[in-house]
C-alpha cells in the first residue's frame, strides 16, 4: 500500500480524481458517465500522440514535429479521399500512417546517421512538413463536403457503445504497454535513454533505437492525423498548430523524464487525461476563456515541480542509524 502511494502514477490518479470531484461539486453533469466518456474521447488523439512522443523522450530525444506530421498525414489522406472518393477508408488510414512513418524516418535518419541533435532536426522538419502541406494543397482547405461520409464516419462510429476514436486510443495504449514491457526493442528504449554509453556495451545500437522511436512516433502521428481530420472534418495547413507543446507537456505531467529513460505508458495516458480534463473542464465550469492559458501554464509548472520532487535522488546513506530512519 505504501509502495502504491509513492508511485507517481498513483498520485496523478488521485489528483485527477480530486479535480473531477471538485468540478462535480459545481457541475454534477460533468461527471455523468457519458460526459466523462466524452472527455476521454476528446483526449484520445492527445493520448496517441503522447505515447509516440514518450518513446522518443525515453531515448533522450524530443520530437517537435509530431503536430506537423499529424497535419501532413491528415492532409495526404484527405486529398486522396477528395480526389479518389472510391478508395477504401482503410487504405487511406494506412497511407496516413505510412506518411507518418516516412516523416518519422526522416527525423530518425538525421538523428541516427548524421548525429544532429533531435531538437534541431525536428525544429527544422516541423516547418518543412508544414510547408509541404502548403505546397501539395496549394494552401487550400479541404472541407467537410469534399470528404466522403465513410471517411468522416470512422472516428465517431459506435462500437459496443464507445466511439471508435476512443477504441483507437485504448488499443494504442495496450499495444504500447506490451511493446515497452514485453519486447526487447521496448526495453532498449529505456536502456538507450537511461545510459546511452552503457547501452553500447549491451549490444544495443543507440542510433538505430532512436531511429525506431522516431518512426514509431511518426506512425502514431500519422494515425492521429487521419483521426483528427476525419473527426473535425476539415484539413488545412495550420491544423494542430502548436499542439506539439501540449504533447510534450502531457508527457512531462505524466512523469516521463525529459532526461530520458524514465516513464510508463500509464503515466503518459494519465498525463494526457489530466491535460485533457483541464482543457475540457475550463469552458464547462465557466472560467473566462482568457484565464485558460494562464491556468494550464501554472498547472504545467506545478506538475514539473511535483515530479522533480518525486524524482529527486534519495542519495546513498552511509550512516547505519540514518538508514533505519530513512
Amino acid at each position: 500500500m505504501k509502495a502504491l502511494l509513492k508511485h507517481r502514477e498513483t498520485q496523478l490518479v488521485a489528483v485527477i480524481l480530486a479535480m473531477v470531484g471538485l468540478i462535480a461539486l459545481r457541475f454534477p453533469s460533468f461527471v455523468a458517465p457519458a460526459s466523462l466518456g466524452n472527455v476521454f474521447n476528446d483526449t484520445s488523439i492527445l493520448i496517441i500522440l503522447a505515447l509516440g512522443q514518450m518513446t522518443v523522450i525515453l531515448t533522450k530525444c524530443v520530437d517537435l514535429s509530431t503536430a506537423a506530421t499529424l497535419a501532413l498525414s491528415g492532409m495526404v489522406a484527405a486529398m486522396l479521399n477528395n480526389l479518389y472518393p472510391d478508395l477504401p477508408v482503410l487504405l487511406l488510414v494506412v497511407v496516413a500512417i505510412l506518411t507518418g512513418v516516412l516523416a518519422g524516418a526522416i527525423n530518425g535518419l538525421l538523428v541516427w546517421r548524421l548525429d544532429i541533435p533531435p531538437i534541431v532536426v525536428t525544429l527544422g522538419t516541423m516547418t518543412i512538413y508544414r510547408g509541404i502541406i502548403f505546397l501539395i494543397s496549394d494552401g487550400k482547405w479541404i472541407n467537410a463536403h469534399e470528404m466522403t461520409d465513410a471517411f468522416k464516419a470512422v472516428p465517431r462510429a459506435d462500437f459496443l457503445g464507445i466511439p471508435v476514436l476512443s477504441w483507437m486510443a485504448l488499443s494504442v495504449t495496450a499495444i504500447m504497454a506490451v511493446l515497452l514491457r514485453r519486447l526487447a526493442t521496448g526495453r532498449a528504449f529505456y536502456a538507450v535513454g537511461g545510459n546511452p554509453h552503457a547501452a553500447v556495451y549491451t549490444g544495443i545500437d543507440v542510433g538505430y533505437t532512436r531511429f525506431l522511436s522516431f518512426v514509431l512516433s511518426g506512425a502514431l502521428s500519422g494515425l492521429a492525423g487521419y483521426l483528427w481530420i476525419a473527426r473535425y472534418a476539415v484539413a488545412y495547413v495550420d491544423i494542430a498548430l502548436g499542439f506539439e507543446l501540449d504533447v510534450v507537456a502531457a508527457c512531462v505531467i505524466g512523469g516521463i523524464s525529459i532526461a530520458g529513460g524514465i516513464g510508463t505508458v500509464f503515466g503518459a495516458v494519465l498525463g494526457s487525461l489530466f491535460l485533457g480534463t483541464i482543457k475540457n473542464a475550463l469552458p464547462v465550469i465557466n472560467i473566462s476563456p482568457f484565464w485558460q492559458l494562464a491556468i494550464s501554464g501554472s498547472v504545467i509548472i506545478l506538475a514539473v515541480a511535483f515530479n522533480a520532487r518525486a524524482e529527486r535522488r534519495k542519495g546513498r546513506v552511509i550512516l547505519k542509524k540514518a538508514e533505519v530512519v530513512a
Binding site: T127, W291, I301
Partner: protein, 335 residues
C-alpha cells in the same frame, strides 16, 4: 598516446594560427551563405538594392535578434528559454496598461524592461533555484505569461501610445539607419564582449560544457544561470519596447511563435543546442540571413510558409553538410 604528447616540455599556446581558425569556423560558412543569398536577392529582384528597402528589411530581424543574443547565452549554458515571446507579450501588455493610466514614454520603457526582468527572475528561480528542467519550465511559463496578458487585455487592445514613444520602433538615427538597427548592432557588440572577453562569459561556457565540474571549480553555477535568465527577460522586455512602438498598439497575441524563430536563429548561428559552444558573431550572421531570406522571398511574393521551409532546410543542411563532407573524406581516406 600520440607521439606529440610525448615530445618536448614546451607547450605552444595555439595549435592553429588565428587566420586558419577563422577560415575553418562556422562563421566563415555562414558568411558564405549570407553572401550567396545576398547575390541571389540582387539578381532576382530589382527592388532589393535600394537603401530604403534594405532599411525596411532590417525590421524583419532586429527585434528577434535582440532576444536571440541573450537566448544564445542561455543555450550555451545548457539551458533553453521558450518563454521569450510570451515575456514580450506580457511586457507589452503591462506597458499598455501603464499607458492607459497616463504613463509617459520614460515610464513605459522602464515598465517594459522591468516586466522582462521580473519574468526572467521567475524563470531563473524555477530553473536554478528549484533545479527544474528549463525546457518544460519555460513551456509552462510561456503559457503563464501570455495567459496573464490575456487576463489583463481579454479581447481589447491598447492603442494610442504617446507620439514620442513611436521613435523606438519607427525612428531613424541617421538617414536610413533606424534606431532598432543601431540598437541591434550595439547589443551584438555588448553581448559579444560579455561572452568572449569577460570572466562571466567564460563561466557560461564552463557551465554548458560540464555543470558539475564547473561547480567543483568554484563557479557559482546557479547564480550565473539565474543572471542569464534575467538577461533574457530583459532583452525580451527591450524587444517588447521596440515592437510595441513599431506596432503602436498591443494585443495579447503579439509576437506569437517568435520563440521558435529565435531558437532557430541561435542554432543556425552555430550555437550548440546541447550547450558549451558557439559565438555571437554566428548569431548576427544568422539573423542577417534569416532577415534577407524573408525579405528576398517577400519581394517575390512567395508565401511565408515557403520561406519557413527554406529556413528549416537551411537549419538542417548547414549542420548536415559539413558532417557529410568529413564523413565522405574519412571513407575515402580509408578506402
Amino acid at each position: 598516446m600520440s607521439s606529440q604528447e610525448m615530445q618536448a616540455r614546451f607547450i605552444k599556446d595555439r595549435l592553429q594560427g588565428r587566420g586558419e581558425r577563422l577560415l575553418r569556423s562556422w562563421e566563415a560558412l555562414l558568411l558564405a551563405v549570407a553572401v550567396i543569398i545576398f547575390a541571389i536577392n540582387v539578381w532576382s529582384s530589382p527592388y532589393f538594392l535600394d537603401p530604403w528597402n534594405l532599411s525596411d528589411a532590417t525590421f524583419n530581424f532586429t527585434e528577434k535578434g535582440l532576444i536571440a543574443f541573450a537566448l544564445a547565452l542561455v543555450i550555451i549554458s545548457g539551458e533553453i528559454d521558450l518563454s521569450v515571446a510570451a515575456i514580450l507579450a506580457l511586457s507589452s501588455t503591462l506597458m499598455g496598461l501603464a499607458m492607459s493610466h497616463g504613463a509617459g514614454t520614460p515610464e513605459l520603457v522602464a515598465i517594459g524592461l522591468l516586466t522582462g526582468l521580473a519574468c526572467g527572475a521567475v524563470n531563473g528561480f524555477l530553473v536554478s533555484g528549484l533545479g527544474l528542467p528549463s525546457i518544460v519550465v519555460t513551456i509552462g511559463t510561456m503559457s503563464l505569461f501570455r495567459g496573464i496578458a490575456f487576463i489583463i487585455l481579454g479581447d481589447k487592445a491598447f492603442t494610442g501610445y504617446p507620439s514620442d514613444f513611436a521613435w523606438f520602433g519607427q525612428g531613424y538615427v541617421f538617414w536610413v539607419i533606424s534606431f532598432e538597427l543601431v540598437l541591434f548592432v550595439l547589443t551584438a557588440v555588448v553581448f559579444a564582449v560579455l561572452l568572449h572577453a569577460t570572466s562571466f562569459g567564460r563561466t557560461v561556457y564552463a557551465i554548458g560544457n560540464n555543470p558539475m565540474a564547473a561547480r567543483f571549480s568554484g563557479v557559482r553555477v546557479e547564480r550565473v544561470k539565474f543572471i542569464l535568465f534575467l538577461l533574457t527577460g530583459l532583452m525580451s522586455g527591450l524587444a517588447a519596447v521596440c515592437l510595441t512602438s513599431r506596432l503602436g498598439s498591443t494585443r495579447p497575441s503579439i509576437a506569437t511563435g517568435w520563440e521558435l524563430e529565435a531558437v532557430t536563429m541561435v542554432v543556425l548561428g552555430g550555437i550548440n543546442i546541447l550547450g558549451g559552444s558557439g559565438r555571437i558573431g554566428g548569431v548576427v550572421l544568422a539573423a542577417l540571413i534569416m532577415g534577407m531570406v524573408t525579405f528576398g522571398f517577400g519581394l517575390l511574393n512567395v508565401p511565408g510558409i515557403v520561406m519557413s521551409i527554406f529556413v528549416g532546410l537551411l537549419l538542417i543542411l548547414v549542420i548536415a553538410v559539413p558532417k557529410l563532407v568529413t564523413r565522405i573524406r574519412q571513407v575515402r581516406r580509408k578506402g
